[in-house]
Amino acid sequence: MRLIVAGRKDEALAARVRDLATTLPEAASPFRLSPEHRALRLRMCADPAAFDALSLDLLRHHLALDPRPPAASRPQGIRARALAILRRALWRLLGAPLERLALQQTRINELLLDALGRIARRNDGPDRTEPAAKP
């Protein structure tokens, strides 16, 4: 990695960046899925038809809604901490109905994806996408 700051090469900064990057724990990785199930694979598709087929396939890994509370952030200040406690309490209180809604929505997602898959197979043909704007 080469860095240029205000028009000048900065090797000391590059070394600092490399050192800092190594301090990042594996737990900070944004990906939870294995590489073969990641959307980034779509970049390798040969054409839009292959893209559509693979994206339907990949969507199957995202059907289920997650009703768990969001990862805890580090609220700063008394007001923010109080709000965070209130939010957690509300989440616990709503836990059961949220899980029920998530389950229903997940089933609807499964049905929708199946329907999409059937439509895609029926319409299997040349790409008809028109560009919507200048690249």
């Binding site: 700051v5 000048r8 959307a39 995202h62 790409d127 560009p131």
Partner: protein, 362 residues
């Protein structure tokens, strides 16, 4: 009165080519020329119709010269090539078709056709210019002898007042990381999303990634980005869609850093808009970007997602580094402000054999 018109494939307010054409039209009028913009009628955005006329109206105007703002194959280029006027070609670069192949075969074919048509357009032109030396080098490689560089004029405009409602939505004590530009595969926004994941989980949970730009030019690529956001479970990444000038101004005003990770750019005007708004820039040194930003950015060639996260962290927290970037930005903007765009245009028109305006400049 001498008339110098401009032809574009499409006209969308806010788009770099459209902004440049509008700024050049205003400059031409100031020089004393009659001047209007023309584009393929179904590719003029509804809010752009006040500034740009349908291509079919061009013949009625009988222009003395026409500038073609060229970035893709279109019927506008064909009309320009055979027109009975002095022909000036302004090249904005054509994104290599390979970037679009997985997403849009029609667009990929149009881009390929655009590159194939270049030699013919060059031989039809009475004068040729490009918006960066990077773009000019492409034309010289195709045999064009006298290519001048006329950088994007829109980059010298001051930002409008921020939209207060939109600015409020972007507040809340978060560190805002901003990407500006249409959602296109060559911009590699997925790399930024991944790096932002490392950054927000490893350095700064109170951070937000704002991806501002039209998501209509390549819908499948926009879908890929949304899938990446879903699978990384990043709740503070926001794809805003197209923003108007005042919303964009609000996005700059609330941003701690503007990041560009594109692997192919002819110029990249948003990085200069960021400098104009006083926001530090971190960008990949690709294509015409180093030339566009001059010393006004922290540039990297290659970086892993973790390294990019570390770069974002340092560029948002290290005061000395931010000062150095800001100084570079001020120097670059001062350099751009010293340009005499009127003189650049006059010289170019003279080179093309365009008669001077009959009336004195306003």
């Amino acid at each position: 009165m001498t008339r110098v018109d401009q032809l574009l494939d499409g006209y969308v307010p806010g788009d770099a080519v459209s902004r440049n054409a509008l700024a050049l039209r205003n400059q031409l009028r100031q020089l004393g020329y009659e001047s209007d913009l023309f584009a393929v009628s179904d590719r003029i955005a509804p809010d752009g119709r006040a500034d740009c006329r349908p291509l079919t109206d061009l013949g009625l105007r009988q222009p003395d010269a026409v500038i073609l703002q060229y970035a893709i194959a279109s019927s506008a280029a064909e009309i320009w090539r055979v027109g009975g006027f002095r022909r000036l070609l302004l090249y904005h670069n054509i994104t290599p078709a390979e970037w679009f192949r997985p997403y849009d075969s029609v667009l990929a074919a149009q881009l390929e056709a655009g590159r194939r048509a270049l030699p013919e357009l060059l031989s039809a032109a009475h004068a040729v210019a490009a918006v960066s030396s990077f773009n000019a080098a492409e034309l010289r490689a195709l045999g064009a002898a006298a290519v001048r560089v006329i950088p994007l004029v829109c980059a010298t405009s001051p930002p409008p007042a921020p939209d207060p409602t939109f600015a409020a939505r972007l507040g809340g004590g978060f560190t805002n990381i901003l990407h500006v530009g249409r959602l296109a595969p060559n911009k590699c926004i997925e790399d930024l999303i991944e790096a932002f994941g490392w950054y927000s989980r490893g350095f700064n949970p109170r951070s937000r990634l704002i991806i501002a730009g039209s998501d209509r030019s390549c819908p499948r690529y926009a879908a890929l980005l949304r899938m990446v956001i879903v699978e990384t479970r990043l709740e503070t990444v926001w794809i805003t869609g197209f923003l108007d000038d005042r919303q964009l101004s609000a996005a700059y005003a609330t941003a701690a850093l503007v990041v560009g990770v594109s692997r192919h750019e002819g110029f990249c005007a948003p990085l200069l808009d960021a400098a104009r708004a006083g926001v530090p820039v971190l960008a990949r040194a690709a294509g015409g970007i180093p030339e566009a930003v001059g010393g006004g950015a922290l540039l990297f060639d290659e970086a892993s997602p973790r390294e990019l996260a570390a770069l974002i962290h340092l560029a948002t927290t290290d005061a000395a580094l931010r000062r150095a970037i800001a100084e570079g930005q001020r120097a670059r903007l001062a350099e751009l402000d010293r340009r005499d765009i009127g003189a650049e245009l006059r010289d170019w028109l003279t080179q093309a054999g365009v008669p001077p305006p009959a009336s004195p400049p306003i």
